[in-house]
Symmetry: C2
């Protein structure tokens, strides 16, 4: 037993030497023994492992164990935060040339997931409940006031989170070419922010679908408060049950929950639910390469049932649904910046979060936000916005209309704000 | 024999009745007998079949036979042009719901092509020679003055071909973010228009590769005439032989000639030849859906060895090359408008074309331009521009830079024009 531990210790040291070439990292074992690596620059980060089993877990399942040990308090970080640790790992692993050892396992897991995991309507409800029906107040602590729980669109690098989330809604609305009175479907409407924007600013008639009773309640209350209940309806409904048709379909941060096996179904529903001169906009997290698969810790603790696809995995389903792809935008640094802003807000109000859901939850959430950011900076994650139509000439000839639609929407936002002030 | 002919005649009549619901079409057989279909509206189009074998060929291989019979003069059109005939077929076939009969065969052909046809360096040279080394003067008759033989970019629907081709070069240069002195590679440099633009207007140092000795000669002559020989080099070279690295890579209208089996090689060469902070822009014809395959007549007579991919067929190779996709623009109506302009110019100078290459060539070329346009209007063809990088932050945060780069290039075009005038 002690011999095996020794073996793993040496393997860990060799791994550290191989990986950490820039920056510093010390690992303190339960015995008090310290392994160090790096070039001595940067923060004097120390990872403290509280028990002997932790080494083994890290060795055999690094991606799963790091988050689990941190959440359970069996791994702590001193000389910096868990964010600094993940940043250090991200920067160093990033510079290694692929394929990494361990990649083979991820690819296998990926293939396995693809053929076995299918999100039934019941399982989808369960998955959504897992993440979105926890104490609602937790989201108030780190999201913007409109509770946009998806990648913001930073028009400039130093834009505020509030402004970038508003810009995201505007950018998507611009690509949807929404006219007043247009019938819009929002698949995965969350707390209603996108639907309310489309109704208030673009004058649309919106139907939002969610599987979360908590989100539904909040969204309906907000529609009522803004006097928009007649023009925005939210329903607790699986998208696969849809039977109406719409002028426009928007789906933001929902496709991640669909799962690879249901992509054909998803795009078939989009085609079936879209009028002939319709436009749809799908906004989702994606992977830049075919190698990296779903992080197992995220899949287990944060987003069960979710799957982050590469474009090569998405396009076959779009093409088999006979939808016309009219634009694909790739947002790269935006989600890293969004998660960074969320973590800063969360850490500033960590005391309140602890009162609501306890210390263990706070550690898990801190890890989630930090690791998520690293995934977008170093891990090959991105966000894609795919615009779809049924006909080749529904969307204008060039993409210049996006900027002019944004100008129009900006003016409308100002007019709506003036009316609100006048009404008070 | 006469019984079989009668059977096919009845089948043809039934096919016509099924297909032609809007507009009018009469088919006149060699016997003088006439089959009619349609609602009697539109042009009184008559297709005249000169011999009895033509019916059988049309029946068994419609896509191949239509072009062959027209080229050989065994099928003529009265009451309108072959363009009007193709337009009528396009509009009517377009409204039928897929899957069409015949689609199965196309899918099979597609699969077959995928695994069997590989463009060796020798075959590539042969294919290029087939299309580009015919009497050079023919291209002068229908292309713009800069000989842009790829999809133009119409900023407005009624822009002239010259302006739209200039806008295409500008749009691509803008996406490449070219700085003065940047080392740019042009894979498939044709008659040199793109390379010369990048050197003259953006101040780049350009290396263009072509497999056509005729194109090489013209491109080199043009570089010399413009005094750019020191900054633009053209080489007769297969892209697979490259061993240098570049800041930027551009490839316009060449990817169509690569063939499905070489996509991984192609993107591996792009990755290998691109510096770490490099940007590449691939402009190619693509298919919107997974069903329609390469038109066999085009593959045999116009572009042997070519293959028009769907995005689902392109992305696996991009991802396996570990390239970062940073933008995908889908140009839909643009190539239909380009081909329409080319056909109008060609028809206006058909007499000169006939003197150069004969009547048979003229009929083939007229069919090519008309059928090509219909392919982009009704046949699910489009053009994609895929922008690639190696790092996630090489290209700016949002796509707004494209418009401002275009403004900058427009100003530089004007300055270059002023200098040219002053030098004269």
């Amino acid at each position: 037993m002690s011999e095996r531990l020794d073996l793993m210790k040496r393997a860990l040291q060799s791994f550290l030497n191989q990986c950490i070439t820039a920056g510093s990292l010390t690992v303190e074992l339960a015995s008090g023994e310290r392994l160090t690596a790096g070039d001595g620059t940067g923060l004097p980060l120390v990872v403290v492992l509280k028990d002997t089993k932790a080494v083994r877990e890290l060795f055999f399942h690094p991606q799963m164990a790091l988050g689990e040990l941190f959440t359970d308090g069996r791994l702590t970080v001193s000389g910096g935060s868990v964010y600094d640790l993940i940043e250090l790992l991200g920067q160093n692993l990033h510079t290694l040339t692929p394929p990494q050892f361990g990649q083979v396992r991820h690819v296998l897991r990926n293939v396995f997931d693809r053929w076995t995991r299918r999100n039934s309507e019941r399982l989808s409800r369960h998955n959504v409940h897992h993440h979105y029906d926890i104490d609602d107040r937790i989201y108030e602590l780190f999201l913007d006031a409109d509770r946009q729980y998806s990648c913001a669109y930073f028009e400039t690098p130093d834009e505020s989170l509030e402004a970038a989330q508003l810009a995201k809604k505007r950018h998507i609305a611009a690509k949807l070419l929404v006219e007043p009175g247009a019938k819009v479907l929002d698949i995965g409407s969350g707390w209603g922010g996108m639907a309310l924007y489309l109704a208030r600013v673009a004058g649309a008639d919106v139907t939002g679908l969610t599987l979360s009773p908590e989100q539904l309640k909040v969204a309906q209350r907000r529609a009522g408060e803004k006097g928009l209940s007649s023009r925005v309806r939210f329903r607790l409904e699986d998208y696969r049950k849809l039977s109406e048709t719409f002028d426009r379909i928007v789906s933001v941060g929902m496709f991640e929950h669909v799962g690879l096996k249901d992509y054909e179904t998803y795009f078939d529903v989009v085609r079936r639910s879209l009028k002939d001169d319709g436009v749809a906009l799908i906004h989702s997290i994606g992977r830049l390469d075919g190698r990296s698969a779903m992080n197992p810790w995220f899949a287990k603790y944060i987003f069960p049932g979710s799957y982050v696809p590469s474009l090569a995995e998405v396009f076959p389903a779009i093409e088999s649904a006979s939808l016309t792809v009219t634009d694909v935008e790739i947002l790269r640094v935006h989600y890293a910046e969004t998660l960074k802003a969320w973590r800063a807000r969360f850490m500033a109000r960590r005391g309140e979060a602890k009162e609501l859901l306890g210390e263990r939850f706070c550690r898990m959430w801190e890890f989630y936000l930090a690791a998520g950011e690293a995934g977008f900076r170093y891990g090959g994650l991105m966000v894609f916005q795919i615009q779809l139509a049924k006909k080749i000439d529904t969307v204008p000839l060039t993409r210049d209309y996006i900027a002019s639609e944004e100008d129009r929407l900006r003016a409308s936002e100002a007019a709506v704000a003036d009316r609100s002030v006048a009404a008070e």
